[in-house]
Symmetry: D2
Subunit: 293 residues, 4 copies
Amino acid sequence: MRIAFLGTGHMGLPMARNLAAAGHEVTAWNRSREKAEPLAEHGVRIADTPAEAAQEAEVAITMLAEDHAVEEVVFGDEGFYEALPQDAVHVSCSTIGVEFSRTLADAHDLQRQGYVAAPVFGRPEAADARKLKVVAAGAADVVERVRPLFDAIGERTFLVGDDPSLANVVKLCGNFLIASMIETLGESFALARKSGVPEDVFLEILNGTFFSSPIFAGYAKAIAEKRFQPAGFKLRLGLKDVRLALAAADRAEVPMPAASLLHDRFLTGVATGRGDHDWSGIAGLVAEAAGLD
Amino acid sequence: MRIAFLGTGHMGLPMARNLAAAGHEVTAWNRSREKAEPLAEHGVRIADTPAEAAQEAEVAITMLAEDHAVEEVVFGDEGFYEALPQDAVHVSCSTIGVEFSRTLADAHDLQRQGYVAAPVFGRPEAADARKLKVVAAGAADVVERVRPLFDAIGERTFLVGDDPSLANVVKLCGNFLIASMIETLGESFALARKSGVPEDVFLEILNGTFFSSPIFAGYAKAIAEKRFQPAGFKLRLGLKDVRLALAAADRAEVPMPAASLLHDRFLTGVATGRGDHDWSGIAGLVAEAAGLD
Amino acid sequence: MRIAFLGTGHMGLPMARNLAAAGHEVTAWNRSREKAEPLAEHGVRIADTPAEAAQEAEVAITMLAEDHAVEEVVFGDEGFYEALPQDAVHVSCSTIGVEFSRTLADAHDLQRQGYVAAPVFGRPEAADARKLKVVAAGAADVVERVRPLFDAIGERTFLVGDDPSLANVVKLCGNFLIASMIETLGESFALARKSGVPEDVFLEILNGTFFSSPIFAGYAKAIAEKRFQPAGFKLRLGLKDVRLALAAADRAEVPMPAASLLHDRFLTGVATGRGDHDWSGIAGLVAEAAGLD
Amino acid sequence: MRIAFLGTGHMGLPMARNLAAAGHEVTAWNRSREKAEPLAEHGVRIADTPAEAAQEAEVAITMLAEDHAVEEVVFGDEGFYEALPQDAVHVSCSTIGVEFSRTLADAHDLQRQGYVAAPVFGRPEAADARKLKVVAAGAADVVERVRPLFDAIGERTFLVGDDPSLANVVKLCGNFLIASMIETLGESFALARKSGVPEDVFLEILNGTFFSSPIFAGYAKAIAEKRFQPAGFKLRLGLKDVRLALAAADRAEVPMPAASLLHDRFLTGVATGRGDHDWSGIAGLVAEAAGLD
């Protein structure tokens, strides 16, 4: 398929490369062009604007940091909203808000373009190894059309239903669960350390009892080693995702006190200058509040 | 070895049976004697009092619901404190408080008895299948002496150090992590449900992305199916464990806001008559607060 | 002065009447016209649209329930934005968001109209008795021009500075403080009641020690008597105000955990069907969670 | 009356002096004797031990920092428990736990001594000026007998009922309300400051709208001026009181999430070395978490 790929950062770059490797015709764009250029040697064309990238595309994939970036890339002066052909599909892989996803769905509908929300779980290494998990939602026939792309970037695709924004709900819940685990691991490590349990022993026990899941194991290791830089996923993006989860919960009238607690924790991190640390750095805040180093 | 096994409930019964099956000479006692009697056919002798059970034992194992029960079994009128021979070892497998574990250590030391804290992770089925994880702490030589017993009841033993109470800290942290996951799963399911994500789809995604760990997967399933009875582990015992974690944290001066939140949630459960539900029932409280069924 | 008064609800009606009584020439508008009509006998003209009310006004005062209502009245099809003469002043007395107040300031600036944020503290009885406290902010000369109006509706005016939105910050902080006091009174009454302290004795002690302030004393009485209907100020408006406070705090990067707690409490109230109760009804939720009637 | 006064700190010293001034025969004791000595010139006798002070007393008044201190003074080696004559009354003015107050009641009953819980509201200046508020509970005839003493130290006495521990519940609720107000003032000031509202203006508005109550006004001033030392009431004692409130709530099965939040805040203060600051210093923690100074 002819694909416009918008946003070639840590996640987007390997995703675009895997799409090209699977035989798709990819045109990439990135705000700082130099981050897209390594794709040229994989046969990817580099465009100067989102509109240019999308003008003959069958599918436009966005993989950007936040709602505003997506808004700019879609609706901005150089955005692809009007350039993308009728019947083409916008596949939104970014972790964006539920409301904004609805806005996108409506807007593309007006323009007779398709819209599929397809946020992904997995860190850059998973993107690299085509091991992402894709959570997709949208009109069944449209999802069916773009599904081969999911197979090119991930190892498994889950379908949530017709309403695209439901995929965003699921993604936000997932990030909330991870963030919660970081917080509670942080509190556990603080109690264990201050009580005299050696960190490596505590980590070994957690791995041997709870964490067959590599996601949690990785965070437990970072916390045990107090290694919060460089960031795999920035604390300020963690704050953004908790905000989006709370916004969705507020609108749906679902009190989420653990999410509120996380919000205040991440906000403390950003307000005190740790926005660029890894989001596991909230465990460092927990330790500090306990008077540890 | 000659073992006195005190407390043959859901967990203790299969543990005692496995010890007998491994060739140890077990005398069991339980507050309601009829719960111990099924052990007789496995060659276990049933005693009328803890003191009687322990009088010729090399090891006394306690597996009881809470601090007060252990206190009664050790120091009460019929307790084994004075009956247990010098040099014999009290192995405390119950989930008890950190302070109380220190009290036990001191008391046994006075009496020249050994003391090992060895709380276990695993539900009754794991106890049955000799698949418990044992977290043990105590003087190295004493732990070494009783270690074969751990191999008879579990699949893996972790050693935390010389101070027995550290094993209790680890156990309380572990239960706190599980309880936290239940709360955050509950909040996630409430948001997903109220937003329109089908429960079974959400569960499938969680299992396919996060929960290779069977512990969490089991709770996610119970929450998806809103099935909180009968209790595998009672909500009021969950409250007890969070209280013990907070007591340890308070003494160590470690603020644990997620544990505070859990405390208030479990306390709400008990105050509103759900103390005998499974502790995953706190997810039901979350759903109610969101106006769901 | 010639005044357009937009929004003649519980608060706006007595405010408009007091302005007329002070000799101002008032034209009033309300979404349901019949609520404005009692003003006619006080010499107030009733207009059919905000635009009509404002077309010859020197000052347009808005006293509405929330941001959306103000947005409609200012910028909607029948809104006064273009009708209000140049150099006239919009005095916004509603409790609105900090960001939206900035948007209004910019919009009026474009139109060469003045803008003053002047939220008020006080319940309807205080409005009736000209005992409101006005918290005003805006360009000094513009504030000076409209100041006589504040004297006509309130007993004291506080000036916060040039930036109108600062007055909104102060108002949101004030409502947050009142809501917090309701929550903590609710928790205190629940503990006192369940411990056996008679409510009337507890109330008498609070009044005799802490609450020379009539604001708090009134809420304490309602809680003691469990009388949460009819609403003086609706729980759903309380939720709105906590949301606005949290939005301002989020933008300013100020973690406010007590406000987060209130948010979740009020949201529970709305999600479980109590949105139209008085906002002191959150104390009823506290009591329920404690298993009290 | 012949009074033994145990504990002549900031609060106890002026209370004992006022009792002597009212014509009572006072024997005082303090752990560090030199703190009691200034009382000699007011005709107060200084004793070497609590037992000595109490041996001919009709009333023994305790005014100490915490449960352990009271326990030592009553039941310790030099404690007054056995020295205090039958029919004499122990008046406990300290802020102690509800459970411990019950323990004291039972113990004195065994010894045929009376017991009245009579915690007081007010800072040292109020004690000095005989302006304390006394909250008393106990058997009606016993309370009646000691009531003249309350008139000698305070301006008003509230009677809660027959069960002495109810007075302690009320006192703990009161301190919880004050602590909550400090927290929420701290959050409000942080939002106001970071948004650009001048502190003195914000303080003036609070005083002009909410805080006719001098208690709250005093704390608002301290927060506005960021003046948390020297301590009027130490942060570590604030932590103690929140702990006691939570313990009472836990036992009564009353979830108090705002108290949990305060617990974690005060614990952070103590864990990070601010235990000897004034308890209003938690507002400083709030400001720090917002990245302010």
